[in-house]
């Protein structure tokens, strides 16, 4: 992989950096307390000014909270959901895939059967079920998303491991006398990381959307804390009367999903040498 | 006798670097001309340029390609389509990869014939028989995976020759094959050139193959032709230090075992490392300031034998 960056990818990374920056700094840059309700000022349109409370640039929500502050603060939850749940499933999925691909035999059979099992329950059902069992908390939300999505990584890691394991340098490591953990971690993992990262970027956006879906079903981020998904699902009954409640978080969500997906496609094209020619 | 193919000053660039830099050669009908050189020197790009099928990143920045006297460098894609496979065709290094795994080989040969169904089948059958495929009636409906590498290469050759093109470009047609099969394929090419008068541009990096089949040989180094001439002359009296060293570096059955082979120190430069002068300069025993500064022109040293070296005389 050469480190050549096109202007497009620089813009994407820049935008993502801004998102992360805003999310991290949210507590210091929000104009209002994102949780503070002013019931008398509910459902106000963008650019509302109140002499007592000041400007509400993006308007207010259905209990009179500043939408801008909530969208900014919600970036944190949404990005965290994306990042953490992807990490959880990436980590567990990769470990299983590596083990199955390396040891093959019954380990692979068991792991890949479990993968089939989890994959053949629609993710949203599995998520709802698991939230119902575990109860909703941020940690459980991450766990649930991780639990339902790890098989995707396992499949990729498995296929890649099978492929890489036949390469001569793995043979050479065996010849050197390296034990399985070393081969897996030092030799195979770094070389299958690329395709896994590609999956991870696609999943990142999906996870944010997934949380929005769970919020719609009332099982996402715990109120009153905002995430883009929960803001939008609170706003879905006001699509006609208070469009701003869904449009602004929607735009943010669109931006992030777009960026990470473009990043993923870029990575994929970079990492696949064949896609470069012709 | 006019040339079947005449290439002059061909230049191909990738991202501003001339990877192929002013190549010229011609091939007469019925002649086999070999293009040899190390990996990455631009052989395949040259071959692709001859059919105007260059990869997206590669642009032709100069030169002319005359196919039976007609300049095809400026032709539109639609006209080119009528030329490719009809008047100039190509066979590839990996015969199995160059055939669509999902369609029967007969259909792929027919594709090149441009004939309608009933007549086509018979033509394909005859062509397959001509390239030495036993039992063509059965093979015609088989898929590439059911054929061995050698047979696939024959199918490729059949599909390349079914429209009786004037020129056949063969890019390392035997590298992926076993020596005994290679001998069969080379025999076949030799025969076809002789019988049909097809001009063959044979790309290879195997000096043995060149010695076996080519009447003339062009030795490429880093995107340029170092030496070109009749095969016998080039092998017996190489006029370029690269050719000379290359020939000396090959172990031969007649050599003393375990003797030290001559080596060319260093490795082929990357296109990004090309300097202003001779591209062999970093590895050449004769290199001097002039070699560094000025690219040597390709000059005739003997009858039909050209070399691009400032020090040709030192090899005599």
């Amino acid at each position: 992989m050469t480190g050549r960056f096109t202007p497009g990818i620089a813009a994407i990374l820049g935008l993502l950096a801004i998102y992360v920056f805003v999310a991290v700094l949210a507590p210091w840059i929000v104009p209002h307390n994102p949780l503070r309700q002013i019931l008398l000022l509910r459902l106000r349109p963008p650019l509302t000014y109140s002499p007592s409370a000041g400007w509400f640039l993006l308007g207010t929500d259905d209990v009179g909270r500043d939408l801008l502050s909530r969208v900014v603060d919600g970036a944190r939850a949404s990005l965290m959901v994306g990042a953490l749940s992807v990490s959880v499933s990436l980590l567990s999925g990769t470990v299983f895939g590596l083990l199955a691909g390396w040891f093959r035999g019954w380990i692979a059979i068991v792991v890949m059967r479990i993968v089939d099992i989890v994959l053949s329950i629609p993710a949203i059902l599995l998520a709802v079920l698991t939230v119902a069992v575990l109860g909703p908390s941020f940690a459980n939300l991450i766990l649930v998303l991780g639990l339902t999505r790890w098989p995707r990584y396992t499949r990729v890691a498995y296929a890649q491991t099978l492929q890489v394991a036949t390469l001569p340098y793995i043979r050479a490591a065996e010849m050197a006398g390296a034990h399985a953990p070393r081969i897996l971690l030092r030799h195979i993992l770094p070389n299958i990381a690329g395709p896994l990262m590609v999956v991870a970027t696609t999943e990142f956006g999906l996870m944010i959307l997934f949380e929005a879906g769970l919020s719609f079903l009332g099982l996402g981020i715990q109120p009153p804390y905002p995430s883009w998904g929960s803001i939008m699902s609170e706003g879905q009954n006001y699509v006609a009367s208070a469009w701003w409640m869904t449009v602004f978080p929607g735009i943010c969500l669109f931006g992030v999903v777009l960026c990470v997906n473009l990043l993923g496609d870029w990575l994929r094209d970079r990492l696949d040498p064949r896609a470069q020619s012709r | 006798m006019s040339a079947a193919l005449e290439v002059s000053d061909l230049r191909l660039a990738i991202g501003g670097v001339n990877v192929v830099d002013g190549i010229a050669f011609s091939v007469a009908p019925g002649e086999v001309m070999a293009l040899v050189g190390e990996s990455g020197c631009g052989k395949s790009l040259t071959a692709q340029a001859l059919l105007r099928l260059l990869p997206r990143q590669v642009r032709q920045t100069g030169g002319r390609i005359l196919l039976e006297g007609e300049d095809i460098t400026a032709l539109a894609e639609r006209r080119l389509r009528q030329i490719r496979g009809r008047r100039i065709s190509m066979i590839f290094q990996e015969p199995q990869a160059a055939l669509d795994p999902l369609s029967p080989v007969g259909a792929q040969v027919r594709e090149a014939s441009g004939l309608a169904s009933a007549a086509a089948r018979e033509a394909v059958r005859r062509m397959l028989a001509e390239v030495g495929i036993a039992d063509p009636d059965r093979r015609i409906d088989q898929y590439p995976f059911e054929l061995s590498g050698g047979m696939c290469q024959r199918v490729m050759i059949a599909s390349a020759l079914i429209s009786r093109p004037a020129v056949l470009v063969a890019d390392e047609p035997t590298t992926a094959l076993d020596v005994t099969i290679q001998a069969q394929i080379l025999d076949l090419l030799r025969r076809l050139a002789a019988e049909r008068g097809t001009a063959i541009v044979l790309i290879t990096h195997d000096m043995g193959v060149v010695a076996d089949i080519a009447e003339r040989v062009a030795v490429m180094y880093a995107g340029r032709i170092a030496e070109i001439g009749p095969t016998a002359a080039v092998f017996s009296r190489p006029r370029h230090p690269y050719t000379a060293l290359l020939l000396a570096a090959i172990p031969r059955l007649a050599d003393e075992p375990k003797s030290r082979l001559a080596v060319i120190e260093g490795s082929v430069p990357q296109p990004s490392e090309y300097g202003a002068g001779c591209r062999f300069v970093g590895r050449c025993p004769f290199a001097d300031a002039r070699c560094n500064a000025e690219p040597p022109p390709l000059l005739e040293t003997d009858e039909g034998h050209f070399s691009a070296c400032w020090h040709t005389e030192r090899l005599a």
């Binding site: 340098y169 | 000096m207 375990k258 080596v263 082929v268």
Partner: protein, 321 residues
């Protein structure tokens, strides 16, 4: 004197998903003595790679026995296998894929020493530096990654890694086939030098008869999983006994137009049969210009003709050179 490597009746079958198993290696016997280099030649798919993999336990033999420095490879447990691999090292064909692209070459060369606890820290660095020098590279290259080297240099690195444990046996599987002509000579020279300085036993696998002749003392010829001829170098090249060996020698194009065009041109007919369904009798009879009815029925026994061992019913009729 005990041979460093003894292969005795080695059989390796790969089970196939559909149909009969692939008989990749079907009864191969030979030995390699100390300081000796044995060449193993044959066409693609004849089982050369499988033999070498079986020797170091990278594939499990179906039958027969392999001993490296006296240790049986078949059924070896993990620890013995590790020990065997300390004695026998492999150089693979493609230097590009033989090195982990995400590991510095210093780490790659030092890995055998490190994971076996033979050296670490400074000592490891010094030994890696010495190995690099030995194969003609510079110690400061240790911190670079494989993609920063040319093919020839990479093959040197791979050889350095194989030498790290000072093996008694070096298996070279097509070590120069992926290299350019000009670089190939460098590696062959290095190989001949190492042979002399290290006094190793070598198994040199290749399909290039000229290269094998250049570096080997004895040569074994395989066809379709079977060993068909085994002879000292000069005997093989001057008086090949098996019709296949002869055909092979005839098919190698000599890089000399005068010589090459003077060669008799009688290429072998037909295709190589599938190792999943090898012919009855002599495996070569389908393509053999000398085949008679007997060849189709009976597997030829080993014959000793001078120093040559050959498996052909008509070996005695071989025309004199």
């Amino acid at each position: 004197m005990n041979p460093v490597l003894a292969v005795d009746g080695l059989v390796v079958h790969f089970p196939a998903r559909h149909g009969p198993p692939v008989r990749a290696v079907d009864g191969v016997t030979f030995t390699v003595a100390e300081r000796e280099t044995l060449g193993l030649v044959g066409e693609s798919g004849c089982g050369k790679t499988t033999v070498s993999n079986a020797i170091v336990g990278l594939v499990q033999p179906t039958g027969g026995e392999v001993r490296v420095a006296g240790m049986p490879v078949r059924g070896a447990d993990r620890r013995t296998l590790r020990e065997i691999r300390a004695k026998a090292q492999i150089v693979f064909q493609d230097p590009a894929t033989s090195l982990n692209p995400r590991m510095t070459i210093g780490a790659a060369i030092g890995e055998p020493l490190l994971v076996r606890g033979l050296a670490r820290g400074r000592e490891l660095r010094e030994r890696v530096a010495a190995l690099l020098t030995e194969v003609g590279l510079r110690p400061e290259h240790a911190s670079r990654y494989p993609h920063q080297f040319s093919g020839g240099q990479r093959q040197r690195i791979v050889i350095a890694r194989a030498l790290a444990l000072r093996p008694a046996l070096l298996l070279c599987v097509e070590p120069v086939s992926a290299l350019d002509v000009s670089v190939r000579a460098q590696i062959l020279n290095l190989f001949v030098e190492l042979q002399q300085s290290h006094a190793m036993a070598c198994l040199f696998v290749s399909h290039d008869l000229a290269v094998v002749r250049h570096v080997c003392d004895r040569v074994a010829v395989m066809y379709l999983g079977h060993l068909i001829e085994l002879a000292p170098r000069d005997a093989l090249y001057t008086t090949p006994r098996h019709p296949y060996t002869r055909a092979l020698l005839a098919a190698v194009p000599e890089p000399d137009p005068a010589l090459q065009r003077a060669k008799p041109r009688v290429p072998l007919q037909g295709e190589i049969p599938s190792p999943a369904a090898p012919p009855q009798g002599c495996v070569f009879h389908t393509r053999c210009p000398m085949a008679i009815a007997h060849c189709r029925e009976e597997v030829p026994a080993w014959r000793h003709l001078g120093e040559t061992i050959v498996a052909c019913h008509r070996a005695e009729e071989t025309p004199a050179p």
